[in-house]
């Protein structure tokens, strides 16, 4: 079984899983906050937030990668900030790949969570408020449990997107084996070298399988949301 892929490919697969996992975990709170603001908020700049969240979906990924390089590179203002405050370096590290994956998966994640929040009757939260529940308790006991399938669906979509991210990643953190060479980058490399095609095909099958499982799971969860709405 381990012969099916070479050691470099296994490394790429594990790296992809690590990158996508941390990208999803770190962006989930922000994704929920953005979805909540878009679903419930009535504030100035709501439309601007909406555009900002969805921009990575339509912008050329190479542009997103370039902007990340400008902002989060070692001499970029945000890059310096993170290095000084948390000791996190993004440039040419796997953490940078995770950041790129998080940004690119963000629109999908926010969309799924937002739909599940919009499916919740806001009147139910109002009822909880009249019963004395604080906003935090309402979020914890009413909103989150009711939006849970959508949050999970959003996380899975974000994860799947992170597994396959290419353009922004290669622009931002380059293609370094063992550090930033994820699944998609590895396929690209294999296609460049003579005789690499069979391995590339196997990796392609792996990524198709991951994407398909993710889509089916998120679809099932989305159905649970709409079912709950009907009850």
């Amino acid at each position: 079984m381990t012969d099916w892929l070479g050691p470099a490919e296994w490394t790429a697969l594990w790296l992809s899983l690590k990158v996508a996992f941390w990208a999803t975990l770190a962006s989930l709170p922000f994704g929920f906050a953005a979805a909540y603001a878009l679903a419930r908020g009535n504030f100035f700049g709501r439309q601007a937030l909406n555009v900002l969240v969805h921009l990575p979906l339509v912008m050329p990924p190479v542009v997103t990668g370039y902007l990340l390089l400008l902002g989060f590179g070692r001499s970029g203002p945000l890059g310096e900030l993170f290095e000084n405050l948390f000791g996190i370096i993004f440039a040419f590290r796997w953490t940078g790949a995770a950041l790129a994956a998080a940004i690119m998966g963000f629109p999908l994640m926010v969309r799924a969570i937002r739909l599940s929040l919009e499916a919740i009757d806001a009147g139910v939260e109002e009822a909880a408020a009249t019963l004395g529940a604080s906003n935090w308790r309402i979020l914890r006991t009413i909103t989150l449990p009711l939006a849970w399938p959508g949050i999970l669906a959003g996380a899975i979509l974000g994860f799947a997107k992170g597994m396959g991210e290419f353009g922004a990643t290669i622009t931002f953190v380059s293609n370094i084996p063992g550090e930033t060479q994820t699944l998609a980058l590895s396929i690209d490399t294999l296609l460049e070298i003579p005789g690499g095609e069979p391995l590339a095909l196997r990796l392609a099958l792996v990524s198709i399988a991951i994407a398909a499982v993710a889509l089916v799971t998120s679809e099932v969860l989305a159905q649970r949301v709409s079912k709950r709405r009907a009850s």
């Binding site: 009757d121 009147g123 139910v124 109002e126 009822a127 909880a128 408020a129 009249t130 019963l131 004395g132 529940a133 604080s134 906003n135 006991t141 009413i142 449990p145 009711l146 709950r228 009850s231």
Partner: protein, 345 residues
């Protein structure tokens, strides 16, 4: 004592009301779109207003979020938490008087069920219990029965009445159904286009001919209070009221118990002479206290019957033909079957 002063401008409509609510049930009555629900949403702190002064026994509640107002709110559409059992729903706001609330509202058999499997009437009972168990200082009921059909309404009403009789907190009861108001409330605020058109004791307001245009022609009618004397073999109950004895259909209550009977104004017939050879059972000797001519073909006639008051609606034509005027002594005829069991409580 709950004091409320609320103002808010809507598009093409403005709400501006000032009123006080003592303990017991105060009905907020008015047609749809008159601003009733906006008023209690403002009282609960759920509606931002231009002016929303609310105080309870001197404590100013305005400015507090809904969470801090300690008001139980029952919504028209129940709004139970779909992911929790009935028991968890009930306990969400506290477990004040839990056993008593569950017993009074008949919720014992429902505790482990989820809201999706409850009937409309059961949902509304759970919503009521949930509000009560949070130990509210005021209870706000926003058309709690209007989403229910006739039989379901009849199922929930006795629970509401039991609740009213067992609690001493002020209850605001929003409704557009005069039958419900007459059964539930002791005081009434009639809202018309965002203003308080009439306010006072339910019996006084409903016996006032000037109230007819606001209350609505079919909803107008005075309330008689009386004592059940007994149930006859033919299925009629005799009630001794201040206006005289009244026969009404069905068993309306235990002998000796006190009941209210709503007499719809349009079901009262007036006669100059004592009628004989006719089917109507209830003939009361009354004095005309006032005549109120409306814009249409009808006249609202206020009647004094002993120490009770009645309201009749007759046409201008019969009024002129009979030469009815204030102070005349006439006979009021009420058909027993016009008094529906739901009008007696």
């Amino acid at each position: 004592m709950l004091k409320v002063s609320v103002a808010k401008s809507f598009e093409g409509f403005s709400l501006d009301v000032d009123f006080e609510v003592p303990s017991g049930v105060t009905a907020i009555f008015g047609p749809s779109g008159s601003g009733k629900t906006s008023i209690i949403r403002a009282v609960a702190g759920l509606l931002a207003c231009d002016r929303a002064e609310v105080s309870l026994d001197g404590d100013v509640l305005s400015g507090l979020p809904p969470q801090k107002r300690n008001m139980g709110y029952v919504f028209q559409d129940a709004r139970l938490f779909p992911h929790m059992t009935v028991h968890k729903n009930l306990r969400y706001g506290g477990s004040h008087d839990e056993d008593a609330v569950i017993a009074v509202l008949g919720l014992g058999a429902l505790l482990e069920r989820h809201p999706a499997s409850l009937s409309g009437g059961e949902k509304q009972r759970v919503a009521l219990g949930r509000a009560l168990m949070s130990a509210p200082k005021v209870l706000l009921l926003d058309e709690p029965l209007s989403a229910l059909d006739g039989p379901r309404k009849a199922e929930v009403l006795p629970y509401l009445e039991a609740l009213r009789d067992q609690t001493s907190i002020p209850i605001l009861y929003v409704s557009h159904d005069m039958g419900e108001v007459a059964r539930m409330a002791s005081r009434i605020l009639v809202i018309d286009q965002g203003k308080v058109a009439l306010a006072g004791d339910v019996q006084d307001v409903l016996a006032d001919p000037a109230a007819v245009p606001f209350v609505g022609l079919s909803a107008a009618g005075a309330i008689l209070t009386g004592r059940v004397v007994g149930l006859a073999d033919d299925g009629l109950s005799k009630i001794e009221t201040g206006a005289g004895a009244l026969w009404v259909p069905g068993a309306v209550g235990r002998t000796g118990s006190h009941v209210r009977v709503r007499i719809p104004a349009q079901d009262v017939i007036l006669s100059r002479s004592a009628p004989k050879d006719m089917s109507a059972l209830n003939v009361l000797s009354v004095t005309i206290a006032a005549l109120e001519y409306g814009k249409g073909p009808g006249v609202a006639v206020a009647l004094q019957a002993g120490d009770a008051r009645l309201l009749a609606r007759v046409t201008k034509r019969s009024c002129e033909g009979m030469k009815l005027k204030q102070g005349d002594e006439v006979f009021a005829i009420l058909k027993a079957t016009a008094i529906a069991p739901s009008d007696v409580s």
